[in-house]
C-alpha cells in the first residue's frame, strides 16, 4: 500500500511540473516546477524508500 502511495506521489510531482506550462510568467512557472520536484523527491525518499527500509534485511539482525 505504501509503495502504491509512493508511486502516485512521485508521479504527481511530474504532473505538477507539466501543469506549470499553463502559467504565463517564468517566475510562477519556476515556483511550481520546484514544488513538483519537491513532491517527487518526497515520494521517492520519504515514502518509497521508507517503505522498503521498514523491512530492511539489516534491521532483522
Amino acid at each position: 500500500m505504501m509503495i502504491l502511495v509512493g508511486i502516485l506521489i512521485t508521479l504527481s510531482g511530474f504532473v505538477i511540473s507539466v501543469l506549470s506550462l499553463g502559467l504565463s510568467s517564468n517566475g510562477a512557472r519556476l515556483a511550481v516546477v520546484v514544488l513538483g520536484l519537491a513532491v517527487s523527491l518526497f515520494g521517492i525518499m520519504g515514502v518509497l524508500n521508507r517503505a522498503y527500509l521498514k523491512n530492511a534485511i539489516w534491521k532483522k539482525g
Binding site: 508521479l11 510531482g13 511530474f14 506550462l21 517564468n26 512557472r29 521517492i44 534485511i57
Partner: protein
C-alpha cells in the same frame, strides 16, 4: 646561483629575440583584392589532371591522388560540370559527418569495457564473473531491444537530421495536444530498421550512434545493483529499459518530443537542452539504478542493526582506475560526437566540446580528491575515479554550450557533489550502491542538466538555432530571463518524477513475477557459482562470509 640565473635570463632574452621575427612573419601579408569570378563548366574541363602515364609510375608523395579526375561525372562525354562538382562537395560533407559520427560511436561503444572493469573492480572477487557478465550481456540485450522497438520510439519522428543527409524516413511522431500545443510523445517509424523506408544510409549511422548511448545508460544500473541482482531479472529489466524507458525520455529530449519543444511552444529559452546526454543517458541510468537498488535492498553486511554503514572494499583498484581512463577516452566520442558531424552547421565547435570535456573531467577528479583528503585525511582512489566520471557526466549536457571556465566550474562542483551524494545515499537513505553509480550518473546527470540553465554562454551557433528556436542557448549567468532554467528544471522533474516511476513500476512487476534478489546463501557464497556456474578467478581461494 646568481650567475646561473643571469645566464638563464640572457638565454630567455636571446630566445625571445630569435622568436620575434617569427611572430612578425606569421602576420598575414596584405593581399590585393580581386573581383570574384564565377566558375564555369569550361573551367572544370580545363582542370589539370595527372596523365595515365604519370599515375602508372605510382604516387609516393600523394600529389597525384585525389584530383579533379576523382570527381564522379554524370555524363562522361561532357566531362565534369558545376552540377557534378556541387554534388561531390555535398557528398564529401555528408561523408565527413558519417565518418565522424561512426568513429565517435565506436569510441562510445568501447566505454562498455571501461564500465565493465570499473564495476567489477569495485565489487568483491567472489562476484567477478557475475558482474562482468552483466556488463557484457547488457550490450546485446539492450541492442536487441533497441533494434526491435526502442529506436523507433526514440527517433521514429525526429524529422530531418541535416548533418546526416536528411534522414527523411524518420518522419512520424505521435503527437497529443496539451494547453493547445502539440506534445510529441513517441516516434513511429524505424522498427527493425526496415519499417517505412528506414533501410537508409543516414538512418543506419544515426542508429549506431544512438544505440551505443542507450547501452551506456543500461550499464549504469548493473553497477548499483551488483553483488545481489538475480541474473534473469537483470536480463528482463535491461530489455524493458532499452525498449521503452530510455527511448521514451530520449524521444522527448532528442527525437522531436515535447521537452525539446518547450522553447517553440512555451517560449522557454531554446526548450529543454541536453547536448550529449547528462539527462538522457546518465540521469536515466542513475535514476533507474536508484529504483532498482532501493528495491533490492543492501548487501548482507553492509549495514549493522544500528544503521551504521560498513565499507565493503573493492577487490582491484588498479582495474577500477584503468577503467576510468578508458571511460574518459570514450567520452571524447560521447560529447564531440553528439554534433553528429564535423562539417557544416557550426560543427567546428567539436574542438571546444572536446576541451570542455577533458577540463571538466580533470576538475571533477581534483574536486573529489581534495574533498576526500580534507574530510578523511587521505586522497581516496575510488572516489577520485568517481570524481573524474562525475565531472564528465556533468559536462555531457552543457559541453556544447559553455566556455572552458564554465566547464571547470561545472566539473569541480560535480567532483565535490559526488562525494556528498555518495555519503547521503549510503548513510541517510541507507541505499546500497556498490560503485556509486547513483551519485556519479544520477545526481551529476541532474546537475549537468541544470548547469545549462546557468552557464550556457550564448556563443554556440549550430546552424543559427537550437530546437527550432533562433539564437544560441543562453543561461541565467549570461543574460537569459530564466526561461532556459525553467525548461531545464522541467526536464529534471520529468526524470525524477516520470522516469523513476516508469523504471520502478517495470522492476516492481519483475520483482513480483520473478524476484529481483538472489537468496542469502548465494549472496554469501558469491554469485559466480550459483548464478553463472563458474568462478571469475578459479585459482583464487575465496572465503564465503558467515
Amino acid at each position: 646561483m646568481k650567475i646561473a640565473s643571469k645566464g638563464l635570463l640572457t638565454l630567455c632574452f636571446g630566445a625571445l629575440c630569435c622568436l620575434a621575427p617569427l611572430s612578425f612573419a606569421q602576420t598575414p601579408a596584405a593581399t590585393p583584392t580581386a573581383a570574384p569570378k564565377a566558375i564555369t563548366d569550361a573551367d572544370l574541363a580545363g582542370a589539370p589532371v595527372p596523365s595515365a602515364d604519370a599515375r602508372s609510375k605510382g604516387d609516393p608523395d600523394g600529389a597525384l591522388t585525389g584530383t579533379a579526375s576523382d570527381i564522379a561525372v554524370t555524363d562522361a562525354k561532357k566531362g565534369a560540370t558545376i552540377g557534378d562538382l556541387a554534388n561531390q562537395v555535398g557528398q564529401n560533407k555528408i561523408a565527413i559527418n558519417f565518418v565522424w559520427t561512426l568513429v565517435t560511436g565506436f569510441l562510445v561503444m568501447f566505454m562498455q569495457a571501461g564500465f565493465a572493469i570499473v564495476e567489477t573492480g569495485l565489487c568483491r572477487a567472489k562476484n567477478a564473473n557475475h558482474t562482468m557478465m552483466m556488463n557484457f550481456m547488457v550490450y546485446g540485450v539492450g541492442m536487441l531491444a533497441y533494434w526491435l522497438i526502442g529506436f523507433a520510439i526514440q527517433m521514429g519522428g525526429v524529422g530531418a537530421v541535416a548533418n546526416l543527409g536528411g534522414t527523411p524516413p524518420l518522419s512520424a511522431e505521435h503527437v497529443i495536444t496539451v494547453f493547445g500545443k502539440p506534445f510529441g510523445i513517441f516516434g513511429q517509424n524505424g522498427l527493425f530498421l526496415v519499417h517505412r523506408g528506414t533501410y537508409d544510409v543516414g538512418v543506419m549511422v544515426l542508429f549506431l550512434f544512438q544505440m551505443v548511448f542507450m547501452d551506456t545508460a543500461l550499464t549504469i544500473v548493473t553497477g548499483a545493483a551488483a553483488e545481489r541482482w538475480k541474473y534473469a531479472a537483470f536480463v528482463i529489466s535491461s530489455f524493458l529499459m532499452g525498449a521503452f524507458t530510455y527511448p521514451l525520455f530520449a524521444n522527448w529530449a532528442w527525437g522531436g518530443g515535447w521537452l525539446a519543444s518547450l522553447g517553440t511552444n512555451f517560449n522557454l529559452g531554446k526548450g529543454y537542452c541536453d547536448f550529449a546526454g547528462s539527462g538522457v543517458v546518465h540521469a536515466v541510468g542513475g535514476i533507474t539504478a536508484l529504483a532498482v537498488s532501493m528495491m533490492l535492498g543492501p548487501r548482507i553486511g553492509k549495514y549493522e542493526r544500528s544503521g551504521k554503514s560498513n565499507a565493503i572494499l573493492a577487490h582491484d583498484i588498479v582495474i577500477v582506475l584503468t577503467g576510468c581512463f578508458i571511460l574518459a577516452f570514450g567520452w571524447f566520442g560521447f560529447n564531440p560526437g553528439s554534433t553528429l558531424g564535423a562539417s557544416g552547421n557550426g560543427n567546428l565547435r567539436i574542438g571546444s566540446i572536446a576541451v570542455n570535456t577533458m577540463l571538466a573531467g580533470m576538475a571533477g577528479s581534483f574536486g573529489a580528491m581534495l574533498y576526500m583528503w580534507m574530510r578523511y585525511g587521505k586522497p581516496d582512489a575510488s572516489m577520485s575515479g568517481n570524481g573524474l566520471l562525475a565531472g564528465l557526466v556533468a559536462i555531457t549536457a552543457p559541453s556544447g554550450f559553455v566556455n572552458p571556465v564554465g566547464a571547470v566550474i561545472i566539473g569541480t562542483i560535480a567532483g565535490v557533489l559526488v562525494c556528498i551524494s555518495v555519503e547521503f545515499i549510503d548513510r541517510v537513505m541507507h541505499v546500497d550502491d556498490p560503485v556509486g553509480a547513483i551519485s556519479v550518473h544520477g545526481t551529476n546527470g541532474l546537475w549537468g542538466v541544470l548547469s545549462i540553465g546557468l552557464f550556457a554562454d550564448g556563443k554556440s551557433n549550430y546552424g543559427g538555432s537550437w530546437n527550432g528556436v533562433t539564437g544560441s542557448v543562453t543561461g541565467l549567468f549570461y543574460g537569459d530571463n530564466g526561461g532556459q532554467l525553467v525548461a531545464q528544471l522541467i526536464g529534471i522533474v520529468t526524470l525524477v518524477g516520470f522516469v523513476f516511476t516508469l523504471s520502478f513500476v517495470f522492476n516492481l512487476l519483475i520483482d513480483w513475477a520473478l524476484g529481483q534478489r538472489v537468496g542469502a546463501k548465494s549472496e554469501l557464497e558469491g554469485l559466480d557459482l550459483p548464478e553463472m556456474g563458474a568462478l571469475g578467478y578459479p585459482e583464487f581461494e575465496l572465503k564465503a562470509e558467515m
